[in-house]
Symmetry: C2
Amino acid sequence: MKKLRKQTLDGNVETLLLSILESGPSYGYAIVKELNARAEGILKLGEGTIYPVLHRLEAKKLIASKWRLADNKRQRKYYRLTPKGRRAFANNLQQWQMLTMLIGKVVQTAENKVIPHLKGISL
Amino acid sequence: MKKLRKQTLDGNVETLLLSILESGPSYGYAIVKELNARAEGILKLGEGTIYPVLHRLEAKKLIASKWRLADNKRQRKYYRLTPKGRRAFANNLQQWQMLTMLIGKVVQTAENKVIPHLKGISL
DNA sequence: ACGCTATACCTGTCAGTGCGAGGTATAGTT
DNA sequence: AACTATACCTCGCACTGACAGGTATAGCGT
């Protein structure tokens, strides 16, 4: 199975991270693992990708962080959604719905000629 | 109704243009109009956005162009899909399907807590 | 003749975003 | 002692859409 290109993914990683944090507070390293597990076979993000995103989200006040010492005796930076982040997440879901609608419209309009291509698609 | 943000749209304009050209050859000015018509209320692109995209697609050999004098007595640059472009379009549709799958998985996994937000969504 | 609108093309610069390579440090295991 | 997993981080690259602006012509109304 092919992977999602950056091009397609672009602009969606923030929302993916927010959705992970919807399930409860977590920290960077665990978030990458969790996300890659959820997206098994579709997506595999590196740590270098998500840390900047986390910082960006925090700068926007969509998430907040707190250092905490784990049983590991490792320092973890736990992130949680802020109310603003919760609203942003809901809003992003709307954006996805709109994108889906748009894709639907466009593909539908070009349907006659697109069908043969769609037929061959197997994930 | 809100518009799609660049962030969400990112990486999809190329595919949208390709889908327009799937319906037959066309030229820049008409393509913008057509696309904005198909995406009425969701999206409104300016010409300054799509011309660079067309050039980019041509550079990648996904589309090819030919100047032609219209009845208007205006010079129009007609673009058509190349075989490579056709394959790319099919491929991009797969990408969209994958993204949709991914979104589904992620949202589903976080479902318990997400439902209240989804409930409030009306387009 | 004049100005306005629609048609039709174009460029340059900006900001945002994911990627990848690389770096640091520590705990636990072999 | 070496290695792996955990856990954090930064920097520079490439790509992409947005936006402002520029050019030119046909056709219409005044």
